[in-house]
Symmetry: C2
């Protein structure tokens, strides 16, 4: 598998890491980077993350046989619409966004005949942003979920799987609606929890978090993630997030009650279950 | 500063790390380790973390000029009472526990005349436990809070400060009641939040956490901490923890309302404040 020209639309942490990974694994002859911020583009160009840069998505996708949509997810549909008429026949279009649901079908419907859009979500990243935060091996060992639609051919899905596997990712296929349920649980909800932990502590005693040990720092690291990004993701997936917020509040109320009743065995049962569950995954 | 014989009562993660740090910095001629689990004691002895071991606290403290109480905090008072009649005159006794409050005064009152107990809380550790989880440099760069009481002389407090500073810790003095308020916020509460995050996710969809990326793993790492330990700490400090749990639930309800009302600016205000606050501390 090798692409002649890959266009990465959006050179943030994920987009720039993808560009670098393509080049490292010699998966594209030429990698074009596209974004709005000129400083960010120049940084990526100077570091050799991409071979050329442009601020114009239409120029970027011209003659590209691989197009990676890596702009914020709430702009995905608009971006797909604006490049659609300029895509090369038989090009492959993927995204890397955190929301799939009905969006993947809507984006596919914007594609010209012969062009397949395959929704992808690499579960990788950090609280940092911009091409300066990119990591060449970001996707190595990471999970990547592909959410095919009825419009996708097995061949296209197979090629996309092969692409991620070439970058070292562990690929799984999932229904796009199921994806949003699960990612709401394991990614979107924990971000909201981390932001709320910080606010609860600081509202009680301003400056207290300066006393943080490694535990609280780990627990709230994702609260350094760009709040505008997570505002948009959580609003887009709110139907899946509100129920887990409710479950979380109920769980906290259970803990609160155990504390107030001095119920050591009740509290232990709650904490012990969580300890065993967390220990069932690595890292 | 150098002690002739240091007795470490409780060779868990903290106690064993303290023993190793004393030896590394040549702060004690002989370090005696005391604990209940014979395998754990032998491990520490074989690795050279301590010079000798015993299961009997009374034997351990005999002739010791430094006694470090590093057993679980709910056993502190009982342990202090049992060794009290066997302490060397002019010996110094410290603890390393997560709860201070009125406990430090009660422990001091158990000491024989001439022996000072100085409450200490190194903010260091990990989710692991036992002497095999110990780290020689655990206290290097870590914060350590000393909570002197009216019974402590400036000289004793000064010597304890010097000891922690010799291990590389950044020492601050704090009222013991204030300590429990702050640690309830930055340590005890986040542990409960992390346990509850895991349970909320897994109750909604068993096995979902297997999809965790680095973010959720960081956020819930402390949920691997021994649940029995955190059951006891949070029950002992429940008066300080319940109010922050309430503030946290209110914060989550604010987020929930913003999501349901599709209130992007309200949600952004909440998340942005947390992002800025978290970025104000390092790491």
């Amino acid at each position: 598998m090798k692409f002649e020209r890959a266009a990465i639309i959006g050179l943030g942490l994920i987009g720039a890491s993808f560009a670098r990974a393509l080049k490292k694994h010699s998966l594209a002859e030429v990698v074009v980077g596209c974004g709005r911020g000129i400083d960010n583009l120049n940084f990526a160009l100077e570091r050799g993350f991409v071979d050329s840069v442009t601020q114009d998505p239409i120029k970027a996708v011209a003659d590209a046989d691989l197009v990676v949509l890596a702009t914020p997810v709430e702009t995905l549909e608009e971006m797909a619409a604006s490049i659609s008429g300029h895509l090369k026949a038989d090009s492959m279009v993927i995204d890397v966004g955190s929301i799939k649901g009905e969006l993947v079908q809507r984006v596919q419907s914007l594609m010209p005949g012969g062009v397949e859009f395959v929704g992808c979500h690499p579960i990788a990243g950090s609280e940092r942003s911009g091409s300066s935060a990119s990591v060449e091996d970001l996707f190595k060992g990471a999970q990547c979920i592909i959410t095919p639609t009825d419009s996708n051919t097995d061949e296209a899905v197979g090629r996309v799987r092969e692409l991620w596997e070439a970058l070292g990712s562990k690929v799984s296929l999932m229904d796009s609606m199921e994806h949003d349920v699960l990612l709401g649980l394991v990614s979107h909800f924990p971000h909201l929890a981390a932001y709320a932990i910080i606010n609860a502590i600081e509202d009680r005693s301003e400056g207290a978090i300066a006393l943080s040990g490694a535990g609280l720092k780990d627990t709230t690291r994702i609260a350094m993630s760009p709040s505008a990004l997570w505002r948009d993701i959580t609003l887009m997936n709110r139907d899946n997030i509100v129920p887990v917020l409710d479950a979380f509040i109920a769980e906290l109320e259970g803990i609160r009650t155990s504390l107030l009743k001095d119920d050591a065995s009740g509290l232990e049962a709650i904490l012990k279950k969580a300890e065993a569950r967390r220990k069932s995954i690595e890292g």
